[in-house]
């Protein structure tokens, strides 16, 4: 029977691992209002866990570590281009307990501000001043519909748009029934035919993971939804969760049935209070109608850490630990949540499943241009209508921006797939935005969080901001990334006299070769690409 651990929408959900109180630690810390002095000891008495362990967990997640901050202004590139630093100063001047935070997945509604756990879009200096220091009064637009961003293109249909975010939710569970009738083997073939690639960043073929989980000897398996959406410039999953919860939950149910899992964990970033309410209501609705009788949905709120979007860090977080990525191999399909085979998928990937089941693999494949399917492109920064656009996979930047109403100013550079993809020069504006092509450029499509920068932007500054992000969000576990991000950030900032840019190449090489996970492996790219394409900004 579907359940959400008996919690109200919009609150913190306890993950139930039947025997391990550890998995409840982040939620307990959140319920206690964060890691204030003495909290670790109290929770240690409640759970029987060591107080140092609890402290270690609390100090890892920024929403827990500094409970006194209740207002957090986004310091991401798109928000800074929209004046977030002025909003930050205004909040501080108004006496609000404020700090800066990494991208809030609301770059299309910049500048974004997090008030407690709720992301407020388009906050202005006036909003901050008007609050007169009362956190509750910092509201700007605070209704749930204010959370919906721009979606394009304006005309969409299920025939031409695999997700069709503008379409009406469909609770019939027809695709689920059809998939069950088809059976796992045929479904996996269908996925293979569709060519569906993971949309979380790596573009890994979905059918391989499904087959791997289904083929494990261990009978207990889990499905995990990665809704941690933290890659700067990315906000598409937010739109999918808000607009098409039907597709997300049906996709998860199909995955569970096909791989022999009965428990599904949904990991939503903690700042997604509003989308999490929408999903919780949707689960409740399914529960009422008993749509997926053999599947249990568990919701889990993140506590503030970009790295928990990395799938093994996410699993650690679900288990209640510090979100430090695991060594791979073994991969989650073999050894995942609580050591069991686990299928982890991004929100967008999973939402394509019902459509593929109903309309076929060839249909999906043919929707793409250079690679299979349509794709949600997020676009923000210097464009007229920042938003989420479902377009054939492989369109160019110029085409994307045209759909988004055109450039603001003269294009100088763009980030095709979040901070991790580095920067590309305007000369690449005609290139296909796909996994393979961008990969061959030494960049990546990643999460397709496209950020456009015009010629008012200094690329040294842009690189510095991205490095600041990576230094703050590195889990700190492995030296190449922990020290490398610190080094590059300090070097590009130019404050430390003894550091120059002479060793950037070697540091970047080491980070790429030596780091445990994708964060450290890619983190030097904003700087190395800026140096490569825009040397004049460094002289």
């Amino acid at each position: 029977m579907p359940l959400i651990n008996g919690q109200r929408p919009g609150t913190i959900y306890l993950v139930s691992s039947p025997n391990d109180p550890r998995s409840t630690v982040p939620d307990r810390l959140a319920s206690a209002g964060g890691l204030s002095e003495g909290v670790a000891r109290v929770l240690s008495r409640d759970t029987g866990l060591h107080e140092a362990d609890i402290y270690g967990v609390g100090s890892f997640y920024h929403l827990l570590a500094r409970p006194e901050a209740r207002v957090r202004v986004c310091g991401g590139l798109s928000c800074q281009l929209a004046g977030s630093r002025e909003v930050l100063s205004a909040c501080k001047a108004a006496g609000l307990p404020t700090e800066e935070i990494s991208c809030l997945a609301a770059c299309d509604r910049a500048p974004a501000v997090l008030r407690d756990r709720r992301t407020l879009p388009s906050v202005t200096v006036e909003d901050a001043t008007r609050s007169a220091g009362k956190v509750e009064d910092l509201c700007s637009t605070d209704s749930e519909t204010a959370w919906l961003g721009t979606i394009g293109p304006e005309t969409q249909s299920m025939g031409t748009h695999a997700l069709n975010l503008l379409g009406e939710p469909d609770w019939s569970a027809e695709a689920f029934k059809a998939a069950n009738k088809m059976g796992p083997a045929a479904l996996f073939d269908l996925l293979e035919e569709s060519g569906l690639q993971g949309r979380g960043g790596a573009g890994f073929p979905a059918h391989i993971k499904w087959r791997a989980v289904a083929g494990q000897a261990v009978q207990k398996r889990y499905i995990v939804l990665n809704a941690d959406e933290g890659e700067p410039g990315t906000f598409k999953d937010r739109e999918v969760l808000m607009r098409r919860p039907d597709l997300v939950l049906e996709g998860l149910a199909i995955a569970a049935a096909a791989t022999g899992a009965s428990e599904v964990y949904l990991y939503l970033r903690g700042e997604f209070e509003v989308p999490s309410g929408v999903i919780a209501q949707a689960i409740a609705k399914l529960e009422e109608t008993n749509r997926y009788p053999d599947i249990t949905f568990h919701m889990h709120a993140g506590q503030g850490a970009y790295i928990c979007g990395e799938e093994t860090a996410l699993l650690e977080a679900l288990e209640g630990k510090r979100g430090m990525p695991r060594l791979k191999p073994p991969f989650p399909v073999e050894v995942g949540l609580w050591g069991k085979p686990t299928l982890v998928h991004n929100v967008e990937t999973i939402a394509y499943i019902p459509g593929i089941v109903l309309k076929g693999g060839a249909w999906f494949k043919n929707l793409g241009r250079t690679e299979p399917g349509t794709k949600l492109y997020c676009i923000s920064g210097h464009v007229q209508n920042p938003g989420t656009y479902e377009l054939p996979l492989g369109i160019s930047l110029d085409e994307l921006v045209e759909t988004a109403g055109g450039y603001v100013g003269t294009l100088k550079a763009f980030s095709p797939g979040g901070a991790s993809s580095g920067f590309l020069p305007a000369s690449e504006r005609g290139r296909a935005l796909d996994f393979k092509g961008l990969g061959s450029l030494g960049s990546m499509l990643g999460s397709a969080g496209v950020v456009v920068l015009n010629d008012t932007v200094n690329m040294r500054w842009a690189a510095e901001e991205q490095l600041r992000f990576f230094e703050e969000e590195s889990c700190g576990q492995c030296a190449p990334c922990r020290i490398g991000t610190h080094y590059l950030h300090a070097a590009v900032k130019g404050q430390e006299k003894s550091l120059g840019l002479a060793h950037v190449g070697d540091v970047a090489w080491q980070m790429n070769e030596g780091s445990i996970c994708g964060l450290g492996q890619a983190a030097a790219l904003p700087l190395t690409s800026a140096l490569k394409y825009f040397p004049e900004d460094f002289s």
């Binding site: 002095e37 003495g38 670790a40 000891r41 240690s44 060591h50 107080e51 140092a52 362990d53 609890i54 402290y55 270690g56 100090s59 890892f60 920024h62 570590a65 850490a305 510090r322 060594l327 230094e471 703050e472 969000e473 590195s474 889990c475 700190g476 576990q477 492995c478 030296a479 190449p480 922990r482 020290i483 490398g484 991000t485 610190h486 080094y487 300090a490 070097a491 430390e496 003894s498 550091l499 120059g500 060793h503 070697d506 540091v507 090489w509 080491q510 070769e513 030596g514 780091s515 445990i516």
Partner: protein, 365 residues
């Protein structure tokens, strides 16, 4: 080697595969040395320090030798240009975040990071970063000093405390470049569950976690100390320990400046000690320590005496009590600081020598 033996190749050497082997184990048996910092054979590998990365044929990425299982037919290469560049650049990066000029830290603790950087020839001119690690273990415990600047966040101390001591008094805390070692809320170790075993010091590769008393007396580097292997005399377990003697100190009479445990895997205590063995050594050079037997003279004043005289006086006294009050007027109490063998002899003396069962040892209750 029998024909069914499974093998792998490490730098061209054929190595017989053993159950549970990691690449590091197999390489060690082939006398191929791979640098490690976060590895301690007593702990589960985490592959965090990245010093041991090597190339395996067919693998796209470099792999951690300490955490990668060795498998049949594997071809391991630790001598390639790529591995060499990896070691040099990784250690150069470490040096920007730590003082690598000193091969020993406070209290003379060896700093393996510095010696390793020298051995691999890591560049030293990449500049210096300001350390962002806080020293949150408040400073008032008498035994353990934590120097956050030297800490490489390898988590050997926290894993030791958790996996070997089962105490978990300390944890990795914070995130990113601020990652450090801390107790809960940064309280003093004395207010935590810490048992002061000092195992965190023993496993620490950089001297970031070190003996406070050795630092206070500014003990010289361990290479200048004389290590005297001894058996801990605080209890009957018989842990082996090394008294680290500064021969020049104490006006040339020598001074024990710290106690360290013998290397892991060499003695039965496997690198472990408890608070007494590791830290309660000051009695050795204490002015109140008795260094000769004493006998009371006619006025009841203790006077130095020879062992012969003292033993004779004792035996005489015991015989006198027995004669006047019977054998059960005697009782023998031995110390837990005696060895098992000595305790055995004491009860033998009581039962056989004096015919009484009044015998006790202070740790018997």
């Amino acid at each position: 080697m029998s024909p069914t033996t499974q093998t792998l190749l490490v730098d061209g050497h054929v190595v017989e595969l053993r159950p549970g082997d990691t690449i590091l184990n197999a390489a060690n048996r082939a006398d191929v040395s791979i640098p490690t910092l976060c590895h301690d054979p007593r702990l589960k590998p985490v592959g965090a320090c990245r010093t041991c990365l090597i190339e395996v044929e067919g693998a796209r990425r470099l792999l951690p030798a300490c955490a990668t299982p060795a498998t049949e037919g594997m071809k391991v290469n630790t001598e390639s240009e790529r591995v060499d560049r990896h070691r040099k650049t990784l250690l150069a990066l470490y040096l920007t975040d730590h003082d690598g000029t000193q091969e020993h830290g406070q209290g003379g603790a060896p700093n393996q990071l510095a010696s390793m950087a020298r051995e691999v020839g890591a560049p030293t001119d990449w500049g210096q970063l300001p350390s962002k690690r806080r020293g949150s273990i408040k400073d008032d415990n008498p035994y353990i000093l934590f120097d956050p600047d030297q800490c490489i966040a390898c988590a050997r101390c926290t894993r030791y405390c958790d996996e070997v001591e089962s105490v978990t008094a300390i944890t990795l805390a914070g995130r990113g470049s601020e990652t450090t070692i801390s107790t809960a809320d940064g309280i003093s170790l004395l207010d935590s569950t810490c048992e002061m075993c000092g195992g965190c010091i023993d496993t620490c590769p950089t001297g970031a976690m070190t003996e406070r008393k050795a630092a206070e007396v500014q003990a010289p580097p361990e290479s200048d100390l004389t290590k005297v292997r001894s058996t801990c005399n605080f209890c009957g377990v018989g842990c082996q320990l090394d008294l680290n003697v500064d021969p020049a100190a104490n006006d040339g009479r020598g001074l024990v400046v710290k106690v360290t445990s013998p290397p892991v895997g060499t003695t039965s205590n496997d690198g472990n000690l408890c608070v007494k063995g590791r830290f309660a050594y000051e009695f050795i050079n204490h002015e109140d320590r008795l260094t000769t037997p004493l006998i009371r003279d006619a006025d009841g004043v203790l006077q130095p005496a020879s062992w012969e005289a003292a033993l004779a006086a004792t035996s005489q006294g015991l015989a006198g009590v027995m004669e006047r009050h019977g054998k059960n007027a005697l009782a023998f109490i031995s110390s837990s600081r005696c060895t098992v063998e000595e305790n055995y002899l004491v009860q033998k003396l009581a039962r056989q020598g004096y015919g009484t069962n009044n015998v006790h040892q202070c740790s018997a209750t």
